[in-house]
Symmetry: C2
Subunit: 480 residues, 2 copies
């Protein structure tokens, strides 16, 4: 069922919540709303009817119940670092900002788990338990600020996904407020019955608002070895990746940067790489200290066999941090050479890397665009960054076309249209290119079973029909 | 909605299928049905209306469509090794025996995955890829015969779950026939949209019949070290387990056997243990060869610090196999000292092991029963085996009561009523003791969304209401 709320309904919700929570925790001020009209994605924005700041689970239940009573849609928002428009309120919905729900409720060291509120920053969990030799393993690039609730919504990965898996592999349980205000506790794979934690993880808020997350804590690796290899071609680097994995090694991270990024890093930060370097491969191994030197040197040997121009191996933590600088500053460096960039997120089988990168280059050439590649090579998760100038409408249109073509090649090569950035607004129509109608119908049936009124983050994730809204020029949403 | 099929409906289904598949692939012969009236569980049986043997996915679709047209329920069955009655057909349903769907359809070595039919035995996958240095990691004790489809249905674990995780961590995609005959492909966490593979894994056939499974293949560990430690008390062994984990070690397996099992192994197979041994702890570490000796010796040292009477370390593969004999023959040994045993399956936080085992002992004493404990200590997954004589109705009743009390203690200690054997018939009512009504309502809503006619393995997993059938004396099902 489609939400049919009116301006009157939205005002009634905001008035009721203001009365109960106080004016300082409900806003519909135009300047405030601007902050919540966009997220980390570049091609969309949408102004909510209002923003509410709950400070307890009970208040989230109250907010949801009030929205439901008036048929007003709502969407939870964490730190707003999402890259696919998932936290934008369409249909003039209400943004439920969870930043104040940021307490670590419980840490159980012997059983290695922690129960936290959704607004806690990813890295804050690891900081809170590091003195016990533990950490929360998934490490999205935005981990210093992105919220664990947002990680759950998008099933986030990171550079160490190759070894550690994605968010769902580290979620033991969730508490969620459904669209009718029911508060439900769901378990992960260690609990019997249906694995609702896995269903909800990655569902981008379309089943309700998560109010508590129980995460698995993992031992900090005893040792870490990091190296960067420079190659003359992206093909050489890609073949090295395939050989490292085929050789039975299981690096913690295998990150690749292409020549556009190399040039940007040299220009922006004065980093130096061997002459002719057109691809960098960052390799990291971790685990028990014994055997690590052997493991990284086997990986380094494989890089040399594939023609590495130079390999730098970090000898201590400072050198390790220096090697990571290239990877971590890559996006910042791109900011120096282009006014805007649009980060794509697609997945291909690892063995198709050389072909995929060649075709990304062809697509870029055909659309007269520059593309920089920064990606998780080990698990075939690409992040082609299309560089552009937002003020150039024609260039902007070419970015959208090129992005679509890149995803189509991912699908053609047997991959996926999203690795870790979610579907959100950006790729909901693309879902119909990846999945058969029957496959999508199952997802729709499950969504309607849990959210029959269609109030939980409507118009996201699934394509088609009345759930799709028009986006106007510049990605602005057109609504009454 | 409840299935209301009649004898006439069932006969019509069997006649239609016989006409299309041939008489040799459809049976309702009483002697044949006896084989399919029970599984590996001891307290239940139920006679199906008939058994059908499809040889292709298209035939599964045909069978399901035919059942749906007549409102007749159906249940998929693999090797029948399930321990909770999950593969029994209630309501006079049809058993869809998937044993002939046992082809390995595709092995992709570079991308480390395989697509297999559901009737393939778990171990057959590993055998097929071992020459590539790969294996399918989850290893239930019945892995030589149990089917991968059954593993998916129950989200099976095994002795190496501690390090490798359960089935859902190794399922990349599924093909499933829904109750209306729709054939759907669903992806795992690496695909966008809802993680339906995780929802379906562990759902015990209540969403449809899985016809293809894409599994992750993992590198065979380069090296393995195995040791057995004997302790004078189960408390000492339990504390050793907690210390090994707290020490930052991540053994591949940590299996425990109690004094009843030790005595049974000595009596049955002439295995010898140190005098006074009342608990055995089997420890296994695997991974890159370098560092393994250090890892196992640290674990052995921890056992000694906790008073181990003796520690035996395998020096080669033969000695390793000999150490595993104690674990693998444990259930067989119990068969020599009791006519029947009923294996319980509960989970507790690892730190509660000593308290839990003490309370299992108290429950056994109160009910005048002998209980043998064989279990996955590392992940707190207990398998207390209650020994009894099936011919003694009073003892049988005490087994049921003791089993219920054991599970209640698991829940009281913050654990779960099932680790890996599923809910099936056995524990569906217990679900209401573990989950709040709202939590169960969500599961029910999802089930009804995908199976509105209630034909997929009805009366399993969820408790209560009209979905529950009466079980007569001896567990025989009472139906028209």
């Amino acid at each position: 069922m489609e939400s049919m709320s009116t301006t009157h309904d939205r005002s009634a919700v905001l008035a009721a919540l203001t009365a109960r929570l106080g004016a300082e925790r409900v806003t519909s001020d135009v300047a405030d709303l601007l902050v919540y009209a966009s997220d980390g994605s570049t091609l969309h924005d949408a102004t909510p009817a209002g923003v509410v700041f709950p400070e307890s689970t009970a208040e989230v239940v109250d907010i949801v119940t009030t929205c439901a009573a008036h048929g007003v849609p709502f969407v939870a928002r964490g730190s707003g670092t999402g890259l696919s428009g998932g936290a934008m309120a369409l249909d003039g919905g209400i943004v439920v900002a969870l930043n104040r729900l940021r307490r670590i409720l419980d840490v159980d060291v012997p059983n290695r788990c922690a129960r936290v509120q959704p607004g806690v920053a990813n890295l804050a969990i690891s900081r809170a338990v590091e003195h016990h030799g533990l950490h929360y393993a998934p490490d999205p690039s935005s981990q210093a600020v992105c919220s664990i609730g947002g990680n759950v919504a998008h099933n986030s990965g990171g550079p160490h996904t190759l070894k550690n898996g994605v968010t769902v592999n580290h979620v033991l349980g969730l508490q969620i407020v459904l669209s009718d205000g029911t508060l439900v506790d769901v378990g992960g794979p260690e609990r019997p019955g249906y694995d609702l934690a896995a269903l909800i993880t990655g569902s981008e808020g379309t089943f309700g608002i998560v109010t508590e997350v129980t995460v698995k804590l993992s031992p900090l690796p005893e040792g870490v070895r990091t190296a960067i290899a420079a190659f003359a071609t992206i093909d050489d680097a890609s073949h090295a990746v395939t050989s490292v994995i085929a050789g039975g090694l299981m690096p913690a991270a295998l990150e690749m940067l292409d020549r556009v990024v190399v040039a940007a890093l040299e220009a922006a930060f004065g980093l130096t790489f061997p002459p002719g370097a057109a691809a960098l491969l960052l390799l990291e191994c971790d685990g028990p200290e014994d055997g690590l030197d052997d493991e990284i040197s086997r990986a380094v040997d494989i890089c040399r066999e594939h023609g590495a121009l130079e390999v730098r191996l970090a000898r201590d933590d400072n050198e390790r941090a220096a090697l990571w600088t290239a990877r971590k500053k890559a996006f910042g460096a791109l900011g120096r050479i282009a006014r805007n960039y649009c980060t794509q997120d697609g997945v291909i089988p690892r063995t198709k890397l050389p072909e995929m990168l060649r075709r990304v280059g062809e697509i870029a050439d055909r659309h007269r665009l520059r593309v920089a590649n920064v990606f998780h090579a080990g698990d075939g998760n690409l992040h082609p960054c299309i560089l552009f100038d937002d003020r150039d409408a024609d260039e902007r249109a070419r970015v959208v076309s090129a992005g679509r073509e890149i995803l189509d090649v991912c699908l053609e090569l047997g991959g996926s249209l999203s690795g870790e950035h979610g579907i959100g607004i950006e790729k909901r129509e693309a879902m119909a290119r990846m999945f058969a109608e029957d496959d999508l119908a199952v997802m729709r049936a499950l969504r309607e079973a849990l959210d029959p009124l269609g109030l939980c983050n409507p118009h996201k994730v699934l394509p088609g029909g009345s759930r799709c809204v028009e986006l106007g020029p510049g990605g602005k949403q057109v609504h009454a």
